[in-house]
């Protein structure tokens, strides 16, 4: 069975200007949203207290709010979580409140006074200093991952490819974070993990394409970089679609059956897989071409014995000038 005909030749690179425009527009909207609406940071980063309780029947949120107001709380949010029976109460960090960890006990007592049959599902309390640290760690992790990848790809391929790969990754992360901001998805630690997995996945795709591109550069006698890039993308199209399909399948399973807690995680990854597949075609391939990848860059490295002398002679004019 084939989903892609053997000699498919879609002119992906012909649409590359259009693709750049589309990317730019979505990115601009995302960044605008990031600047105006910001990210809906979860408890992990803001600090505060979260209490999830399950009611025997659909909960009346008004009553829940009343119970909390009566218990002396004035700054809190009450929402259902997944089903109408599950209720989440969020209380922001109060600087004056020294014993933040005891807050949950007070809330649970207030809620069970009103409805004795509630079931405590989870309590999370994150102190303000922890939230700050987690945010820093998340950011650092992202930077280190990108840097490590840049190094590895430079080592295995060439710096132009490394820059292209990282450009694609930055594009993916920005785009996904922008979309999360537009949709105001709750951004917690699991979303950071998902973003790093997106980096991994998108990179995987990019590397596969580059690998083929390198091979084609080496074995094909004719063809401009754009043509070879197009050829490589078409050759790998079946594989790209197949892997994206299986990954999306399991992510869908996670999204629909994994429960409310894993929702944001699965959603981020679904966005990431789609964006990552697209970016390895248009951003990674494009960037390498724009940066001027040429046949010579990808020829197997000459043996030590062969001097530098003859090498300078085969180098094209523009390349020689740059090296000087």
């Amino acid at each position: 069975m084939d989903i892609i005909k053997a000699n498919t030749n879609i002119n992906f690179m012909g649409q590359r200007k259009l693709a750049l425009v589309i990317s730019a527009i979505i990115l601009a909207i995302g960044v605008a949203s990031l600047l105006t609406r910001g990210i809906n940071f979860g408890l992990d980063f803001t600090g505060g207290t979260l209490i999830e309780v399950a009611y025997p029947a659909a909960a009346d949120l008004g009553e829940v709010r009343q119970a909390l107001t009566d218990a002396g709380f004035d700054d809190f949010t009450v929402q259902t979580f997944g089903t109408a029976r599950e209720v989440v109460v969020r209380i922001p960090v109060d600087q004056a409140e020294e014993t933040g960890a005891d807050l949950s006990t007070v809330v649970l007592n207030a809620l069970s006074a009103q409805e004795p049959d509630i079931d405590m599902r989870r309590v999370e309390f994150v102190g303000p200093q922890i939230g700050q640290e987690l945010a820093e760690q998340g950011g650092l992790a992202m930077l280190f991952a990108l840097f490590g990848i840049l190094l590895y790809v430079s080592f295995r391929f060439q710096w132009r490819f490394a820059v292209g790969a990282v450009a694609a990754l930055v594009h993916d992360v920005l785009l996904v974070v922008g979309l999360l901001s537009i949709l105001q998805i709750n951004f917690d630690l699991t979303v950071v993990a998902a973003l790093l997995a997106v980096i991994g996945y998108s990179l995987n795709d990019t590397i596969v394409l580059y690998d083929r591109l390198r091979e084609n550069f080496r074995i094909k006698r004719k063809g401009t970089p754009v043509e070879l890039c197009n050829l490589s993308i078409n050759q790998m199209l079946a594989r790209t679609l197949m892997t994206s399909l299986t990954t999306l399948m399991v992510l869908m399973a996670l999204f629909y059956f994994g429960g409310e807690i894993i929702h944001a995680f699965a959603f981020t990854l679904i966005l990431g897989v789609i964006v990552g597949t697209y970016s390895s075609i248009y951003i990674a391939g494009n960037a390498a071409i724009v940066l001027g990848v040429s046949k010579q860059d990808l020829m197997p490295v000459q043996k030590e014995g062969a001097d530098d002398q003859p090498e300078t002679e085969i180098l094209p004019e523009r390349f020689r000038n740059r090296e000087a």
């Binding site: 990848i149 596969v208 990954t247 399948m249």
Partner: protein, 619 residues
């Protein structure tokens, strides 16, 4: 012809065999069990087994087996009913020195257990429980240390009859103000002699001649380290009171402690217990009166109080406290340099040292007792309502003869064994004034949510897995089925590795497994697409297979290494949930490389490799 050398098949079979064995414990489930451990984390005696067997036998409860380890013993029972009955009976019959808790023991058959194969550990988000992150307030700990030294410095100066204007704390240092340069010189000499932990410096005040003393950096670090360890010991003691089956108490970073209590839902009680306090008191032993007499008649001499030793025998101690936990700086178990006997070396602060010297100079040849005092939180049911109270528990942990007068640093010898010495040191430290702690993070998962997480997690793994199996079989036919075998083997290997490493399985960890399942087929897709391409280029089936595997290899390796970089970074920087995800993702990448490349090649070779002529491949 595509054939594998026999050693590759041997490798495949061995890896899969080992994987299967170590993954196996996860399918047997658990036996209900009762766990018995010492309340202070001491080692259990071997004869406890016969004792517990005896108790259960007299009450007609049949135990399936008793697993004995010095740290804890597990009594396996047939059902939940006899489990709770056995726990109640054991709680009544055993003394207060033991903690009896309900637990689950893996029902792994004996021969697998012999290989040390154990099921995966479930994270708190799956089995329910409490996670606390506690911050030790090091600033206050440092101030406490400085205050101790202020008292010591005053005492030293007083003992030299040096008159000083003041000794006070100035930020991170102690400043002593003296009236003349000569006084200052003497002061510096005697302080340096008596308190070698301090670094001295002379500073001139406007009218006074000052000595500025700071605590030596190394010693300060050591003191902070001790403060943290002391808090961990204290927490461990507290947690034992809760009767939690498998608590985790660990240092995190320089000044934090993680406490994980699986199965505990009453966080309010947990917080109370963790916050409760203990102290020690040094008191002289009343050698004039007979404690047994006092115990029997109830008539206690006016200047004494009746206490009990750990073994239950009565002892009379003076009403006057010589020194208490507030004065205790450190207690360390070791060996006497002269006799080689196990000992405990105790250091007291200035006030304690002076009072100790006063007492011991007058009481050579008499015994001195150490009382351990705890405030244990308890829950009682009064008229169906839960009432929380704290009970003061006192017990004499040591009574040793004073051989000669001593002050701030002394040792206790004559202890039965090195274990006894370390137990005494541990109790002394637990009673010392600890640095204050604060809960800075709490994550509690109720049992119902834990179960939901397990159910939903496993459901999504299975559904995702089946979807991928179907797609692969339909799209790649025979080769798809081979890939499916590899995928199954991959799942088994991930579970086996997680079990072997003792890694904790969390909900994000399950998500990592799901993602790996989706991505693991990528290697096979790459190989198969390549084989198809080679076939289209007119290659024979055999050479297409060979070329497909060979040419796809570097692509697969590059793609996986880069993903692995991301996963390792995730592991290094991540905490809690992120780490769990990173662990399963990295393991999955490694195992999938093995199963998807070597594993499928082995099977493909078995199917097609031996035939001289293959007309077509089912791909």
């Amino acid at each position: 012809m595509n054939r594998f050398p026999p050693w590759k098949y041997a490798l495949l079979i061995i890896v899969l065999g080992v994987g299967l064995v170590y993954a196996l414990p996860n399918i047997f489930g658990d036996d209900p069990a009762v766990q018995i451990s010492s309340i202070r984390g001491f080692e259990l005696e071997q004869d406890m087994v016969t004792r517990v067997e005896g108790i259960l036998e007299t009450h007609g409860i049949e135990s399936r087996a008793i697993d004995f380890e010095p740290q804890r013993m597990l009594v396996r029972l047939d059902n939940v009913d006899s489990q709770s009955r056995a726990a109640d009976i054991l709680r009544d019959e055993l003394d207060e020195d033991y903690v009896v808790a309900l637990n689950l023991a893996p029902a792994t058959p004996g021969w697998i257990r012999m290989l040390r194969a154990e099921p995966m550990v479930l994270g708190l988000d799956l089995q329910g429980g409490v996670h606390f992150l506690m911050q030790v307030d090091m600033d206050t700990a440092r101030t406490q240390q400085l205050e101790r030294f202020v008292t010591s410095v005053r005492n030293v100066l007083r003992d030299e009859t040096l008159r000083y204007r003041s000794v006070r704390i100035d930020r991170n240092a102690i400043v002593a103000e003296l009236r003349s340069p000569e006084d200052r010189e003497t002061a510096m000499r005697v302080i340096a002699r008596e308190l070698d932990e301090l670094v001295l410096e002379s500073r001139d005040g406007s009218e006074t001649f000052n000595v500025r003393a700071t605590i030596d950096e190394d010693i300060l670090e050591e003191l902070q380290h001790t403060a943290l360890r002391q808090n961990i010991t204290t927490l461990r003691n507290r947690v034992n009171e809760l009767g939690v089956s498998e608590p985790i108490i660990q240092q995190q970073g320089a000044d934090r402690i993680v406490v994980q209590l699986p199965g505990v839902q009453d966080t309010a009680q947990a917080k109370r217990v963790l916050g409760s306090t203990a102290t020690v008191e040094y008191r002289g032993v009343d050698e004039q009166n007979d404690p047994h007499e006092a115990h029997r008649t109830g008539r206690v001499p006016a200047q004494s109080r009746l206490y009990f030793m750990r073994d239950g025998s009565p002892i009379l101690l003076s009403r006057t406290v010589i020194a208490s936990g507030d004065n205790l700086v450190n207690a360390q178990a070791g060996f006497d340099q002269q006799t080689g006997q196990p000992n405990v070396v105790v250091s007291l602060d200035g006030v304690g040292a002076r009072r100790m010297l006063e007492h011991t100079s007058q009481n050579v040849g008499n015994r001195m007792g150490v009382v351990f005092i705890e405030h244990r939180p308890e829950v009682e049911e009064v008229d169906g309502e839960e009432v929380h109270t704290t009970r003061r528990v006192e017990e004499v942990i040591s009574a040793a003869v004073t051989r000669e007068p001593f002050g701030g640093r002394f040792q206790t010898t004559g202890l039965g064994s090195a274990t006894e010495a370390s137990q005494l040191a541990m109790l002394l430290r637990a009673g010392a004034l600890a640095a204050p702690m604060q809960i800075i993070e709490e994550r509690t998962v109720g049992p119902s949510l834990g179960q939901d997480n397990i159910d939903q997690g496993f459901r999504s793994v299975i559904i995702g897995f089946i979807l991928v199996l179907i797609i692969m079989a339909v799209y790649y036919k025979t080769f798809g089925l081979v890939a499916n075998l590899a995928l199954t083997a991959n799942l088994v290997l991930i579970v086996a590795l997680l079990s072997m490493l003792g890694a904790t399985l969390t909900l994000p960890g399950i998500a990592g497994i799901v993602l790996t399942v989706g991505m693991a087929v990528d290697a096979n897709v790459l190989i198969y697409e390549r084989i198809r391409e080679e076939l289209r280029n007119g290659n024979t089936p055999q050479s297409a297979i060979r070329a497909g595997y060979e040419k796809a290899f570097s692509t697969i390796a590059d793609a996986n290494v880069t993903t692995l970089i991301a996963a390792i970074v995730l592991f290094m920087f991540g905490t809690g949930p992120i780490k769990g995800f990173a662990v399963t993702l990295s393991l999955g990448i490694v195992t999938s490389m093995f199963t998807a490349i070597i594993g499928t090649r082995g099977v493909v070779n078995l199917i097609y490799g031996r035939k001289k002529r293959v007309k077509a491949l089912a791909i």
